[in-house]
Each structure stands twice: as structure tokens, then as C-alpha cells.
Point group: C2
Chain length 384, copies 2
């Protein structure tokens, strides 16, 4: 059925009516006092969301723009950096670092496995020249969450390195206390936990990141964060910002504040548990290593059918859009996004739709309803 | 009065309800066939708007991002370029070129005066090493239109140089036939003639620009146009695009197609004439040299009052937002944006509001109504 689509991909995520209504207001002048108020308010709420006293800057661009900004504003040509790679986004940050002439040491894990923090520790302890560690917290392509807290701890013991984290699918989904964990740069994008359409991205910068910025010599202009820092002090922006998406951002952040960080994190954890348990209960395997499932995305290996066939069946019959596997995982896995504006009904619904589609395709080896009942029981359990 | 603001600044410009309604639809997946259709359709319409057979690529970012993309994708470190400078945006492209290590020759004109095409010709004829000429077509900060056609002609006679043009406030306002004039790169932004909110920008690339791209060695990733070219062929994009602004873009381009290029250009010309004539009729001076007024923005020097006082009076009493002067022009000029979704009523209205405010402030030396009657007569005149 047209026009009744439900998004359960890892972004764009569903957008609340309140946010869509804010989005569609007539634009105002971006140099007006009215717009300054919006910048001031969203800046404050972004700090709250990142649990930081530092700056959180808003860029008109995608999450990749924010990550690139974090990298090119804190590093110089030839700098030695460690990039973690256990998925498509890890790969991407290596490409960015290489494009800007950084000297990249790669720490890999098999897709589906988490990065080993000890591997970072070892390199850091033996090389004082490392300038940054670049890691994807929640790897959207595989649904694996990496142990950012521990990796960050090792980076903090190093005298020269800063911690740069892609938190695109973890901010607003699980606890990422920037200051407490000592993360220096966090990049994120609007179409994820923020419950907004894509088009804005965010770079949080610690004091240490700004110190690193002073020696950074990589060429930049549109993504020169110093220009953003100079203007945010005056509740302004260096270039014409995406005014209507700021309206949406303000409303979305107000909604997040109303729900509260703890409740948001608990909701995502409950949904992750319910999806993981229900999928296993109908005989499907999880792609992420046990205990390393992302709070935002669950990747699933259908044992006896092409993942794309199942995914399309769910789309056609139930108007729920799931994500497929990327690159070599195409047809092998499908991914459920349970991120952002998702409630318990969505969880029950997607599990039911998957079960029903498997039944229709003749590949459900359990009693129809098994998944839903496990999901319901899981949702009823208290989570800390 | 709150919520009844009319924008008559040179961007953001007013947005039609049809476009706002498109903007506020629920997002869809950016890798879906439905979104591919939107990319395909908007690509075609963008080519129509640019009067080109070449690629027009859409970036999530501001007009500056598009200009930077045009520059860093066609040039290499140390390349000699000529930048035209007769306003704030001319200044900005010098900053971008300098930030990326280009060797910049500046051709200047006083703010308010147009660039002299002969100055470009002279340098080009005597230096075969010039790789690009970078010019702002309609200089938003001063309301001056530069003679891009003639400058482009000189660039086309040069064996190595390409023509890079900032057409942010000329595309969709006056005739800029990219292929016919031999322009190699055109940058523009959504919040201008496109009748959309800010957040998307566009880079059109000629075949010669793509040839230049092959030798370009400046570091880039988010703004690497090769990635955009590779994906647009598949009606896709390299990074998560601003989905809802694409909905708006599609609707806005359909509206532009319905009106037709010729009608759009005539409308802007009629409005420019009416504003220029009416402002002069009430004793105000135009900042742009006679014959070089932009079709999109008219800068006005109030003879006997601080421009900011007049501007604020118009805002407070009539809810019409005019733009002020930038940098050393603050308080000296105000700017009327007559760009994008502007009709004859808006023109009559803004002239009336300015007259009434001047009268209230005791600085109107003509009979109240003089400006409006001249504007009405001007609008009734046929324009070719």
C-alpha cells in the first residue's frame, strides 16, 4: 500500500509528526534574532545529549561530512593514526584518512566481530607518534557495537593521541558520555537517534581536540570547524544553515529531553533484546557476535532463504522497509533498524511481519506466533 | 505580528506551500527504487534549468560547499587561478582558493561596480599557465551582476583555463545558458531561485571540467565529485542525501518547469525594473552601477537615514524582512531580495512599506504613494 510505509532501516528513521510539522514551517532569516535563539537552544540541547561541556557544532551535510570534519580539523599531513575496521564505515574512515594523506595503521576484526581493544592498546604503548585513534562505535553495516569506552581509556593514557569516534548510530540510542569516557571527537547524523530526516550532522569537540586543531594543517574551508566555533559563540553559523532542518532539530531535541536520556537508552536496550530473542526463537541466526549486538541495528542471517527475498516479501506484504546486507553480505543478511522514534508496537509488528513472510515463503520451521510471543515476553521484562 | 513574516532578503527566499508540503512528508529509504526515481527526475530538471547536457550534481550542503567542490575537484596544488572580487562572495572564493594552496591572481572592482572583463582577457592572453577563472555572477553582497558571458568567452579562447562561476543568485533568475556560454562549473544553492529552504546545493560540470578533474590532486572526500558522478549514473548518491529536501526540490523544479525559463527570467527582470525605478523615484540611490543591477537583489543607499533604522522599521511595522549591508556597508545600504517565489504583489507591497516607513521616520521627501505608482507603471510595461 502506498504512503503507509514504516521505516525500520538504520536511517533514515521514522520522524514524529511534531518534527515534520516544525520542518514545514516557512523559513526565516538565518541572521535574525529569532534564528539565533534556535541555534542557542539546539547547541545547549546537543551538549546535554552528548553529555559534554565542550562544543557540539552543527554542519549542513551527512554523517560522513561530520566524520571528515573531525579528522581533517585535528590532524596534519603524514600524521600516524589507527583506524578500526570491522565493517563498511570503518572502511570509509580509512578512505577519508588516506585521501588526506594520513599514515594509517589498521586494526581489523572480521565483519560481525567486535574490534579488540587490546590491539589498540598494544600499538599505542609502543608508538608515541600516534596522533589519533578512529573508531566506529556502532557499526551500522554489521550491527556490531565496539567497546569504545575501553579503547578510549587506552587512548587517554597516550600522550599524543586523541579519540575520534563515529557515533552516528549510537548517540541517542545508548550511553555515550563524551566527557566521562574522554572521547575527543564525536560525529553523528540527524537521520538516526535524532528522529529527524537526514541533512544535518554534528561534530562534538573536546578541549584536547581544539588543541590538536591548532597544529592541524590539512586544507579545508566548508568543513573548517574553527569558522563554526567562531560563529557559534555568537549563536550564528559561518555558512547559510539548513534553516528548516534546524526547526526540526529543535523540536526533536525537545522531545528527547522530555523522554530523558535514561529512558531513551532503556527503550533501545529493550527493543534490541526483544528483536534478538525473537529472531533466535524462530531459528534465525544473529550476525553480530553474542554480547556485541548494537542497540540500534540487528543483523540477521536467514538460514534457509536469500535475505533479499525475505526482505522484499516483508516490504511488499507489510510495507515495512528493512535494510539489506552491503557488499559481500548482500543476500546473506538483512538488518532491522530499531533506532530513534520506535515504540514497542513497531517491535511486535516487525517480528510478526517477518514470521508471516517466512511462513508464506515456506521457510518458517517454528509455529507461527513463536517470535511474537518471545518478543512480547522480552518487552515485559525489566531492563537496567 | 508573529508568524506572518515575508522574506525579501537574498535567501532564504519565500517557499511555496506545495514545496513545504512536499518537504514535510515522511522520509523514505534513500536506497529505494522510489528515491531513485526522485534522483532521476531532479537530475533531468536540473539539467533543463542549467541549459546543459552535462552533469548537475546535488550536494547536501550550502552554496559554499558547492563552490568549494567546483574548485577542489578541478584544480591542483599551486595552480594559478584568477579570482574576480567585487563583493563578499568574491572575497570568499579567494579564501577557499588560498586555503587549498592555489596561486591566486585577483581582479578587483570597487564594491558596487562590475568586474571589467578586459582585465581577465589581458591576464589570460599573457599567461598560458592560468588553470581557472573564478567569478561570482550575481554578487549577493552588493546586488551587482558581472558580465559572465564575456568573461567566459575569453576563458574559452584560452587553452588551459576553465570557467568556474558562482551562480547562486543568478540561476533561476536570469538567463545562464551553461553550454552556450561555455561555462565549465556552475555552483548554486537551494534557498535562492529554487524557491526552497537552504540545505541543498548544486554543482554543474562540463566535459572540460571533468577533464580537469582527472589531473586534480587536492584532497577531498565528502566533496569528491567523482563519487557523486559514479553514483548519479545509478540514480543514487555516495552519502545519505537530505531526503526531505529532495522531496522539496522535485516539487520546486516541477513548478519552475510549469512556469518556464523565459517567464521566470521576465518576471525577475520586471521586478528588478520596478524596484529600481520606484526606489529612485522616492529619492533613494542605487548602490550598483547603472545597468549592472542584479535581477535578484537591489542594494539601496538611503540618503538621509541609517539603513539599519529604515530596515528595522519596515520589519517591525510591516513584517517584511530586508537584508542589511555587510561589513563596511552595514548601515550604509539595505538590500531587497526579489528572487524566487516573488509576485507583483510582493513588489508593490515592499515599495509601499519602504515609503510608509520613510514617511513615519520623517525622511520621505516625495509625496507618499510616489514609489508605488512608479512601481505599478513599471510592472505594467512589457519587458523582453
Amino acid at each position: 500500500m502506498q504512503e503507509k510505509l514504516t521505516l525500520m532501516i538504520p536511517g533514515p528513521t521514522p520522524v514524529p509528526e511534531r518534527v515534520l510539522n516544525a520542518l514545514s514551517k516557512h523559513p526565516i532569516g538565518h541572521r535574525s534574532p529569532e534564528f539565533q535563539e534556535i541555534i542557542q537552544k539546539t547547541s545547549e540541547l546537543l551538549k546535554w545529549l552528548h553529555q559534554t561541556e565542550g562544543d557540539v557544532l552543527t554542519i549542513t551535510g551527512s554523517g560522513t561530512a561530520a566524520m571528515e570534519a573531525g579528522i581533517i580539523n585535528t590532524l596534519s599531513k603524514g600524521d600516524k593514526v589507527i583506524c578500526g575496521e570491522n565493517g563498511k564505515f570503518g572502511e570509509r574512515w580509512i578512505k577519508v584518512a588516506t585521501a588526506f594523506g594520513l599514515d594509517v595503521i589498521t586494526v581489523k576484526a572480521k565483519w560481525g566481530e567486535p574490534l579488540n581493544p587490546k590491539s589498540f592498546q598494544e600499538i599505542l604503548e609502543n608508538d608515541k607518534q600516534i596522533r589519533a585513534v578512529i573508531v566506529t562505535h556502532s557499526e551500522t553495516s554489521t550491527g556490531v557495537i565496539n567497546d569504545l569506552q575501553t579503547i578510549s581509556k587506552y587512548v587517554n593514557s597516550h600522550e599524543n593521541a586523541i579519540m575520534i569516534a563515529d557515533c552516528v548510530t549510537s548517540i541517542g540510542a545508548c550511553n555515550v558520555p563524551m566527557d566521562a569516557w574522554g572521547i575527543d571527537v564525536i560525529a553523528s547524523g540527524s537521520q538516526k537517534g535524532y528522529m529527524m530526516p537526514p541533512g544535518l550532522s554534528f561534530v562534538a569537540m573536546s578541549e584536547k581536540a581544539w588543541l590538536a586543531n591548532k597544529r592541524s594543517d590539512l586544507p579545508k574551508f566548508y568543513l573548517d570547524l574553527e569558522l563554526y566555533k567562531k560563529t557559534i559563540i555568537k549563536d550564528s553559523s559561518p555558512f547559510t544553515p539548513s534553516v528548516n532542518l534546524y526547526f526540526a532539530l529543535e523540536e526533536a531535541l525537545i522531545m528527547m529531553k522530555e523522554e530523558g536520556l535514561k529512558s531513551i537508552f532503556t527503550r533501545h536496550k529493550r527493543h534490541m533484546n526483544a528483536i534478538q530473542e525473537s529472531m533466535k526463537s524462530i531459528g534465525l541466526k544473529l550476525f553480530a557476535k553474542d554480547g556485541y549486538g548494537s542497540p540500534s541495528i540487528t543483523s540477521i542471517i536467514p538460514s534457509n532463504i536469500d535475505a533479499e527475498i525475505l526482505r522484499k516479501s516483508v516490504k511488499n506484504d507489510f510495507d515495512i522497509l528493512l535494510a539489506g546486507g552491503q557488499d559481500h553480505l548482500k543476500g546473506k543478511i538483512f538488518r532491522i533498524g530499531h533506532l530513534g522514534f520506535i515504540n514497542d508496537r513497531d517491535i511486535i509488528t516487525v517480528v510478526g511481519a517477518i514470521e508471516a513472510s517466512m511462513d508464506k515463503l515456506g521457510v518458517l520451521n517454528k509455529k507461527l506466533g513463536t517470535g511474537i510471543s518471545i518478543a512480547a515476553k522480552s518487552l515485559n521484562r525489566t531492563v537496567n
